[in-house]
């Protein structure tokens, strides 16, 4: 799964650490998500979408 987390995070000037803290995961998990190595649960995908001020999960996460 590809994500636009890094792009939206940079847009909003949020660090990996800050986003991790907002959605209650580790920085390593955010890094894995950005690299497309880890597929998140629906709950985490939803939290990240909200934290990045986006409306739809598919705006942030793109299925290959």
């Amino acid at each position: 799964m590809k994500t636009k987390i890094r792009e939206f995070r940079k847009e909003q000037k949020i660090t990996q650490e800050e986003l991790a803290s907002m959605v209650e995961v580790t920085r390593q998990t955010i890094n894995s998500l950005e690299q497309g190595k880890y597929n998140p649960s629906l709950e985490l995908a939803y939290k990240i979408t909200k934290a990045l001020n986006k409306n739809k999960i598919e705006d942030v996460f793109i299925m290959d």
Partner: protein, 143 residues
């Protein structure tokens, strides 16, 4: 009784189970615990029984603290998945070695006209089977 804080430690990923030290407070805690044991053993005098009792009480205290920290350590979903896979792989490795051990022991004893199997080895497998069954039953009911 519980002194250690979860934020001082990290889950040990490499080199076994238990806790790894994360912050200086964790290092101070561990050092203090070992110094406390040395002091208590000195105060215990020459009696071996008293020294064993002191060490036992100290160990129970340490284990309660360690289990409390491990219980409270936060893990996100990715870490939980990693831990589950690593623990499963470890369990499979141990099961293969134990089963092989039981087989070799039976073969050896049969060749010596006796039948003996170490009850701890069989017990370890039996406990594993029970824990797996209970876990699956509980998980199926919960989600």
């Amino acid at each position: 009784m519980i002194i250690a804080k979860p934020e001082w430690f990290t889950r040990r990923k490499y080199g076994g189970w238990g806790l790894g030290i994360k912050t200086w407070q964790g290092a101070v805690y561990m050092a203090a615990m070992f110094i406390a044991l040395i002091v208590l053993l000195q105060l215990a005098g020459d009696s071996v029984e008293t020294k064993l009792l002191v060490t036992g009480v100290w160990m129970v205290f340490l284990l309660i603290d360690v289990f409390d920290v491990m219980w409270k350590l936060k893990k996100d979903e990715r870490e939980r998945m990693h831990e589950a896979i690593a623990e499963r792989n470890a369990a499979w490795g141990m099961m293969v070695v134990i089963t092989l051990g039981i087989f070799i022991e039976i073969m050896y004893n049969v060749m010596n006209n006796s039948f003996y199997v170490n009850p701890f080895l069989v017990g370890a497998l039996a406990v594993g089977v029970i824990i797996k069954s209970v876990s699956n039953y509980k998980l199926e009911r919960e989600n």
